[in-house]
Amino acid sequence: MSEEFKVEIVNPEKSFLSKEDVTEVVVPAFEGEMGILKDHIPIISFLKPGIIKVYSKSEENKYFVEDGIVEFKDNSLSILTSSIYNMSDLDKNKIDQIVKDAEKESSADNIDDQKRYLIDQKIEVLKNLNLN
């Protein structure tokens, strides 16, 4: 029996990625990283800033997301996000730029705790990337 399921990543502008032969997806869910395999029970969850890893038999892709929702149902995983970057497209300069913007946002006074937490999370994830 095959272990593959379908994943679809969409953002408001277009369908970002659609694959039929995925074996595992790891998403940065709100309460920790979550690995999804075939025949997972239906689930809806939020994403926090982090890395989505999509594994198939032949390859492994990584994407950086800032927010989003995942829905898994009937062996089809949908990820809706408003900002997503392919990791191979991100270079150091671009990451630095995003980090800088985020730091500026985080230092503003008028944001609530949850938002600040998310932004800090984002900075942390990106900084860790930089080290690699």
Partner: protein
């Protein structure tokens, strides 16, 4: 009868108008293709979003404490209408159709003695509504400066709406836009976004119980504002495709009409020229005969 010179001037002026409308048609056609592509690409997101929310709201157990964005405030006193039009004219009945649809809705509300508030998106809508509903318009938004439609703009509109909702400024919110069907047909749409009402009652797949992380109501309260921005974004995409389509067919018509007019004027020009020649000939002949 207009003189020959006048006719000549008119013909050349119609011809140059025709050139403009022809160029506009081509530009609209090129833009239409892009806008249409964007609209089609944007559909999966809003559809998925809608699906998730439907599944969520079906599964929600505690209806009383559900977020207000989903269930409404329990009243229907103040209506907020978001009328989405274009920033530019010369696109046939595009703006007028939306306004017409919106005005019907306005009249219905006012007749029921409810309070009407309007937000216009796009300057043409404001221009057409300000005469009659000046006091009802609480905000006008225009994205003249942004070249392409982007989610960021839609999000801004969404935030404005949610802000006002949280301040309890209205109970029901509807958006008006043109749905793109094909180049000649655009359907003016009225869509209620607060409280959320699904257009077609989908059969509830309640057998698939979801696992939620975090809790359902937390997901919903996060998701619903996003959904509003998404719906607005969808409306903006549909609108821009419709605008270009509508402009294209309007300009096509204008070009054809200009062509007809040129033909008519040319015949008239030739006839009056011939008449002048005949008249001169008669004068010469009758002059010669009298000698």
């Amino acid at each position: 009868m207009a003189s020959l010179d006048d006719l000549k001037k008119r013909i050349s002026s119609v011809k140059s108008t025709q050139k403009i409308t022809k160029a506009m048609k081509m530009v609209a056609a090129a833009k239409l293709r892009r806008a249409q592509e964007n609209a089609e690409k944007g559909r999966p997101y809003s559809e998925k979003m809608n699906n998730i929310i439907l599944n969520l709201s079906n599964g929600i157990s505690d209806k009383e404490n559900a977020p207000k964005l989903l269930t409404g405030t329990g009243e229907e006193k103040t209506h907020l209408c978001v009328v989405m039009t274009s920033d530019r004219g010369l696109c046939g009945g595009f703006n007028t159709n939306i306004i017409k649809k919106a005005k019907q809705y306005f009249q219905k509300i006012l007749k029921e003695n409810k309070i009407l508030k309007i937000i216009t998106v796009g300057s043409k809508g404001y221009d057409q509504l300000k005469r009659q509903y000046k006091d009802n318009i609480i905000e006008k938004i225009s994205f003249k400066d942004s070249k392409n439609i982007n989610y960021f703009d839609a999000d801004k509109v969404g935030k404005i709406i949610i802000d006002r909702f949280e301040k309890k400024e209205f109970d029901v919110c509807a958006i008006f836009y043109n749905q793109f069907k094909n180049v000649i047909t655009q359907i003016p749409q009225e869509q209620q976004i607060i409280p959320l009402k699904s257009n077609e009652e989908k059969e509830a797949n309640s057998d698939s119980s979801y696992e939620f992380e975090p809790e359902e109501d937390e997901i919903l309260s996060n998701l619903l504002p996003k959904n509003i921005s998404t719906q607005i974004f969808k409306a903006m995409l549909e609108n821009s495709a419709s605008e270009q389509g509508s402009r294209m067919s309007a300009m096509d018509n204008a070009t054809r009409n200009a062509g007809e007019m040129v033909d008519k004027l040319t015949i008239q020009y030739n006839r009056s020229r011939q008449a002048a020649i005949t008249k001169e000939l008669i004068e010469i002949i009758s002059g010669a005969e009298s000698l």
